[in-house]
C-alpha cells in the first residue's frame, strides 16, 4: 500500500536523522540543540493529538493533561531508581521510565476515552478540558511530586537522538494505524459516526483506541520533556499548553500528518523569533489564532477545502 510505504519512509528518515543527529550533537550550540529537542517533543504531541482530533474527529482540549501524567510518572520513576542503577544501564532505565509514563498516560486516556463514548463536540471538549484541569489540581497537591513548587533535579537524559527517534516512531505508528484497513474506521467515524456504525464499524472501539494511543504518545512526550527541562511544574501543563497543541494540529490541517509536523516546528520556532517583541509575543500569538481561523480554518498546508453549501440567512 502506497501510504503505508510513506509511513515507513518517514520512520527510516526519522531514525537516520536521529542517528546522524546524536553523532553530531556535541558540536551543536546548546541553545539550538534545546530548540531542536523542543521541536521533536512538540511533533510527538501534535501528531498524537492529530490522531484524536484530526483523524477520529473528536475534540480534545486536555492533551497537556496526558503529557503531565506521562512526564510526572517518568520523572518520578527516574528519580527513585536513578541511584540504584549503574551508569551503563541508565539508557535502559530511561526507556523504562518513558514507557511507564506512556502506559500510565494511556490508562488516563482510557479514562477519558470512556466518557467520550457518550459525548460529542463541545461537551467532549469540556470533559477533556476538565480532565486536564483535574490532573493539574491533583499534581499541585501531591507532595511526593513536589506539589506546587514543582519536581526538580530530574536527570538530563533526553537527547536529540532519542527525541527524533521517538518522533519518527510516533509518526510511523499513527500513520500506519490510520492507513491500515482497520484504521479506515477512524476516518469513517470522523466523517459520519452514524453512517459508520450502520456499516458495522464500532465507533466506540475507534474512539477509545484513538484516545489510548494518543495519550500514550503524549505521555512519552511528557517523559522526554521532563528529562529535557529537568524540572516539572503543574503550571506548565495548564489549559494554554493544550491550546498550543490544538493550534499546531489546526495550523497543519486536521488529519494531515506532514502538515501537522511542519506546523509543530513553526510554532516551536515562532516564539524564538518573536523573542525581541517579548511583551507583545502572546498578543501576536492570539491574533495569529484568530487570523488563522478566519482566513484558513482548513490549515496552512491544505489545498482543497470542502466548502459547505451556499451561505444561508
Amino acid at each position: 500500500m502506497k501510504s503505508a510505504d510513506g509511513a515507513k519512509r518517514w520512520l527510516l528518515v526519522g531514525i537516520a536523522l536521529a542517528v546522524v543527529a546524536s553523532y553530531f550533537t556535541p558540536q551543536f550550540n546548546r541553545y539550538y540543540l534545546g530548540i531542536a529537542i523542543d521541536c521533536g517533543i512538540n511533533i510527538i504531541l501534535a501528531v498524537s493529538l492529530n490522531l484524536i482530533n484530526g483523524h477520529t474527529g473528536q475534540f480534545s482540549l486536555g492533551h497537556a493533561g496526558f503529557m503531565a501524567v506521562g512526564g510526572y510518572t517518568a520523572a518520578k520513576f527516574s528519580l527513585v531508581f536513578e541511584a540504584m542503577v549503574p551508569d551503563s544501564l541508565k539508557p535502559l532505565l530511561f526507556v523504562a521510565a518513558l514507557t511507564l509514563g506512556g502506559l500510565i498516560a494511556a490508562l488516563a486516556g482510557l479514562g477519558v476515552g470512556v466518557p467520550s463514548l457518550r459525548l460529542k463536540g463541545d461537551y467532549l471538549a469540556i470533559v477533556t478540558l476538565g480532565f486536564g484541569e483535574i490532573i493539574r489540581v491533583v499534581v499541585q497537591n501531591m507532595e511526593s511530586v513536589g506539589a506546587a513548587s514543582g519536581l526538580k533535579n530530574i536527570p538530563k537524559w533526553t537527547t536529540l537522538g532519542w527525541t527524533f527517534a521517538l518522533a519518527a516512531i510516533t509518526i510511523y505508528a499513527v500513520a500506519s494505524l490510520v492507513n491500515s484497513t482497520y484504521g479506515r474506521g477512524f476516518i469513517a467515524v470522523s466523517d459520519d459516526e452514524v453512517a459508520a456504525s450502520s456499516m458495522g464499524i464500532n465507533p466506540v472501539r475507534y474512539k477509545v483506541t484513538a484516545f489510548v494511543t494518543g495519550a500514550f504518545f503524549a505521555g512519552i512526550a511528557g517523559g522526554l520533556y521532563a528529562h529535557h527541562k529537568q524540572f516539572l511544574s503543574p503550571t506548565g501543563f495548564d489549559f494554554l499548553k493544550s491550546i498550543d497543541i490544538v493550534v499546531m494540529v489546526i495550523l497543519g490541517g486536521m488529519g494531515r500528518t506532514a502538515g501537522v509536523v511542519i506546523a509543530a516546528i513553526i510554532l516551536t520556532l515562532l516564539p524564538e523569533f518573536l523573542r525581541q517583541f517579548a511583551d507583545y509575543r502572546m498578543i501576536i500569538y492570539s491574533l495569529l489564532i484568530i487570523g488563522l481561523m478566519m482566513a484558513r480554518p482548513q490549515g496552512l498546508f491544505t489545498l482543497s477545502f470542502k466548502k459547505k453549501g451556499a451561505a444561508s440567512v
Binding site: K307, G309, A310, S312, V313
Partner: protein, 235 residues
C-alpha cells in the same frame, strides 16, 4: 407581481438552477411542479433571501429584491412558508402567531388577524397555549400558514404544504389556500409534489426539471398535456 428572470443558484460547485424565469401575476395561484431535485424549493429559497443568487434577478412589485436579506423581503409583503413547516417547536401556538406578526405594530389589527386565523383553522384555537412541537404534522402546517398570514403578506410562497400530512387534512388545507386567495386576494406561488392536486387549484403552472423550466402553460392546459400527464400526473 413577482417576476423572476434567468435565476441561477449554485451550492458550492454544483449548479442547482440554470437560469429559471417565471412570472406570478397579482391575485393568481401559480404552481411549480417537478420531481425531486428539480429546483423547486431552491427557487423559493432564493426568492425569499435564504440563499444567495449567483445571477439573474428577482423583482417584486416592480422593485429589485435580488439577494436582499430575508427579513427585508418579508417586510415588503412577500412571505415564504418553508418546506418542513419550521414552526417554532419551543414556542406556544399563540407565540408562533405573534412571531408571524413580528414586524407589525398595530395591536388591533394583529388581534383581528389572529381571530381570522382561528376561523380558517379552528383546530389551532383548541391548541392555543400548547407548544407547537406537540402538534401533529397537519396542525403544524396549518400553524405555519396561519403564522405566515400574520405578517399581512400580499404574496405567499408555500413549499410542499401536503408533505407528510394525513390525506384527510391535505384536502382541507388546500381548500383554505383557495379561500385565502379568493377572500383576501393573496397571490400564491405553490410548490407541490402532488401535481394533480396543485394544478386543480392553480391558474398557471411551470414544470421544472434539473434546474430549468421544461414547460409552462395554464393549469388547465398542463393537466391535459400528454407529456405532463405521463411524467407527473400518473398517466
Amino acid at each position: 407581481m413577482l417576476e423572476i428572470d434567468h435565476l441561477e443558484v449554485s451550492y458550492g460547485s454544483i449548479r442547482a438552477l440554470h437560469g429559471i424565469s417565471l412570472k406570478v401575476p397579482e391575485k393568481s395561484i401559480v404552481t411549480l411542479i417537478g420531481g425531486n431535485g428539480a429546483g423547486k424549493s431552491t427557487t423559493l429559497r432564493s426568492i425569499s433571501g435564504l440563499i444567495k443568487v449567483r445571477a439573474g434577478n428577482v423583482r417584486y412589485d416592480g422593485q429589485d429584491i435580488t439577494n436582499k436579506p430575508a427579513h427585508e423581503i418579508v417586510a415588503r409583503g412577500l412571505c415564504h412558508v418553508p418546506e418542513g413547516r419550521m414552526v417554532f417547536a419551543n414556542l406556544t401556538v399563540m407565540e408562533n402567531l405573534h412571531m408571524g406578526a413580528y414586524l407589525r405594530k398595530d395591536r388591533a389589527g394583529i388581534a383581528s388577524d389572529i381571530e381570522y386565523a382561528f376561523t380558517i383553522f379552528p383546530r389551532l384555537k383548541e391548541r392555543i397555549s400548547q407548544l407547537a412541537g406537540t402538534l401533529s404534522g397537519g396542525e403544524q402546517q396549518m400553524l405555519a400558514i396561519a403564522r405566515a398570514l400574520m405578517s399581512k403578506p400580499r404574496c405567499l410562497m408555500l413549499d410542499e404544504p401536503s408533505l407528510g400530512i394525513a390525506p384527510i387534512l391535505v384536502r382541507s388545507i388546500f381548500d383554505q389556500i383557495v379561500a385565502i386567495n379568493k377572500e383576501r386576494g393573496l397571490t400564491i406561488l405553490l410548490v407541490e409534489q402532488n401535481a394533480n392536486l396543485a394544478l386543480s387549484i392553480s391558474h398557471y403552472g411551470y414544470v421544472l426539471e434539473t434546474g430549468s423550466v421544461l414547460i409552462e402553460d395554464t393549469a388547465e392546459a398542463l393537466r391535459k398535456d400528454p407529456q405532463v400527464r405521463a411524467a407527473y400526473l400518473g398517466g
